[in-house]
């Protein structure tokens, strides 16, 4: 039975999450050097087309179609067959099946876009597109089914992931690390050339759009309008705010309260609250956000110290922020907030933490290993990396034949 309030909220949420991908494009684009800003933005933007198409053609049925052995969806809904105006019988049963499908499409798109942060400034665009298709097909769709698909093995185990801490953030974070190791550092990185951010105001705008869209990401994951959506919405806001202030403070202790730091903190807090948003009381967003910033901040320092060029810290922020958030769900979850969830550690139910840990460990290992293999396949066949001269000139010109800031005459 279709509920108009629920339908309105899911459609608006889908649009909110859609806007996160161009927001992410600006967030990343402002952090690279000016010769690579368009190529960085274009990676995310191209996925809005590519992954959206693949999702309606076969991704949705692989992720959410009738269960096959707990690991993948069967192809019954390929090309949106039987996905229409009537609600699904298993997912979001008060909104049209199409609304649920397109809402989920936006998650698939941004999951792929997230790991581009690990490979910027040196990846061949053609190779990137092929890798994106492979990753979407063999990493994202299976994991989405495990966690969210009806009959998925992690769902059956009782592992909770409200809005994609595992499905989106851990997969993207671990995959970015695998690809960064495979690609090796940008030219000049080891020599200590400063990789100066091109445009921090764009980063701030991007972070703002992401924060805005995150209300759809987490609030919409209630899959209906009303109390639970409101609770998740507020928890999301609180965690982002707490984490932004924490990161700003950490920067201040060492040096200065940087804008880039505050923006990064907000994203870390939002990533961490994602799996928890609809299972924990909103005020739990404070400890979740504060701890997220501390963990991600030191992971970032660790990554830098190890000389790993995971360029825009997808692993440190989304991967480790996601890990913390999924575990925090096992600590702070409460049946009083969401009867479809569970009680966590602080409500005397330690087993939930173990279930969360199972989800973290299995998906982190799978995403890292599978992405490594897929990346290696693309690398030995067509080559992941641009030629050295192309990297020196910059990817905007060498890959796209454009430059962001052109012209001498006005």
């Amino acid at each position: 039975m279709i509920n108009s309030g629920d339908t309105a909220w899911i459609l608006v949420s889908a649009a909110l999450v859609m806007l996160m991908t161009p927001g992410l494009a600006l967030f990343y684009g402002g952090m690279v050097r000016r010769k690579n800003i368009l190529s960085t933005i274009m990676m995310s933007f191209a996925l809005l087309g590519l992954i959206g198409l693949l999702w309606v053609l076969y991704g949705y049925t692989m992720g959410f179609g009738p269960n096959f052995g707990g690991i993948i969806g069967k192809f019954d809904w390929v090309g949106l067959r039987d996905v229409g105006q009537k609600p699904s019988t298993v997912y979001a049963t008060t909104v049209p099946h199409l609304a649920f499908m397109i809402y989920q499409a936006m998650f698939a798109i941004i999951a792929v876009a997230l790991w581009t942060g690990g490979v910027v400034e040196r990846t061949k665009f053609s190779a990137f597109l092929i890798l994106a298709i492979l990753w979407f097909t063999f990493v994202y769709c299976p994991v989405a089914h495990w966690v969210w698909g009806s009959g998925g093995w992690l769902a059956k185990l009782g592992c909770l992931d409200f809005a994609g801490g595992i499905v989106v953030h851990i997969t993207a974070g671990m995959s970015a690390l695998a690809l960064a190791l495979l690609l090796r550092p940008r030219k000049g990185f080891k020599e200590g050339e400063p990789m100066e951010p091109d445009n921090i105001p764009l980063v701030m705008l991007g972070a703002g759009l992401l924060w805005f869209g995150w209300f759809g990401f987490n609030g919409g994951s209630a899959l209906k309008s009303g109390g639970l959506a409101s609770s998740a919405f507020v928890a999301t806001y609180i965690s982002g705010a707490a984490a932004a202030m924490t990161w700003m403070g950490l920067g201040w202790i060492y040096r200065r309260p940087s804008a880039l730091g505050a923006a990064t903190g907000a994203i870390a807090g939002l990533a961490a609250i994602t799996p928890a948003a609809g299972f924990v009381s909103p005020i739990a967003g404070i400890p979740i956000g504060v701890v997220a910033s501390v963990i991600c901040y030191y992971c970032m320092l660790f990554r830098t110290k190890r000389g790993v060029d995971e360029s825009l810290d997808v692993w440190a922020v989304h991967g480790m922020g996601g890990v913390w958030g999924v575990l925090a769900t096992g600590i702070f979850a409460s049946l009083a907030v969401n009867s479809a969830g569970a009680d966590g550690l602080i409500y005397g139910h330690a087993i939930q933490l173990a279930k969360q840990l199972a989800g973290v460990a299995s998906v982190a290992v799978f995403a890292f290993a599978a992405t490594w293999v897929l990346g290696k396949i693309v690398d030995v066949t067509i080559g992941l990396r641009v030629k050295e001269e192309e990297e020196i000139v910059g990817l905007d010109i060498s890959q796209h034949g454009e430059r962001a800031y052109g012209g001498i005459s006005r």
Binding site: P194, E196, G251, L260, Y297, M300
Partner: protein
């Protein structure tokens, strides 16, 4: 004719410009430049951690003056651009062979 090329702190541009105007030097070309001298640059922050930028922003003033104006021009620039700290900049003087005014084709000292 001599070309004076002065690399100075950006915040000193206005007072140098005013001092040059007082002695009748009005024409000039100003460029934002980056450079280094004996300073070690500055530390900027990355999201976590920091990095050093060795090239600092400065302003380059270029103007061409008559030979007899060189002394007072240098004096005006140095007097107004100095703070006494490292990083105050440098002034270079170049000989000029010729000059042409694009508008009417005037050449030599008439063109400056």
């Amino acid at each position: 004719m001599k070309k004076i090329e002065a690399i100075i702190r950006p915040e000193k541009l206005e007072s140098v410009k005013a001092a040059l105007a007082e002695i009748g030097i009005l024409g000039m070309t100003v460029t934002e430049v980056s450079g280094r001298g004996r300073q070690r640059g500055i530390c900027l922050q990355w999201r976590a951690g920091e990095y050093r930028v060795e090239f600092l922003p400065r302003v380059k003033i270029e103007t061409v003056v008559l030979d007899e104006e060189v002394g007072k021009t240098l004096n005006a620039i140095v007097r107004k651009a100095r703070t006494g700290e490292r990083g105050d900049g440098k002034v270079f003087v170049f000989p000029i062979d010729n000059a042409v005014r694009v508008r009417n084709g005037d050449e030599g000292e008439n063109a400056i």
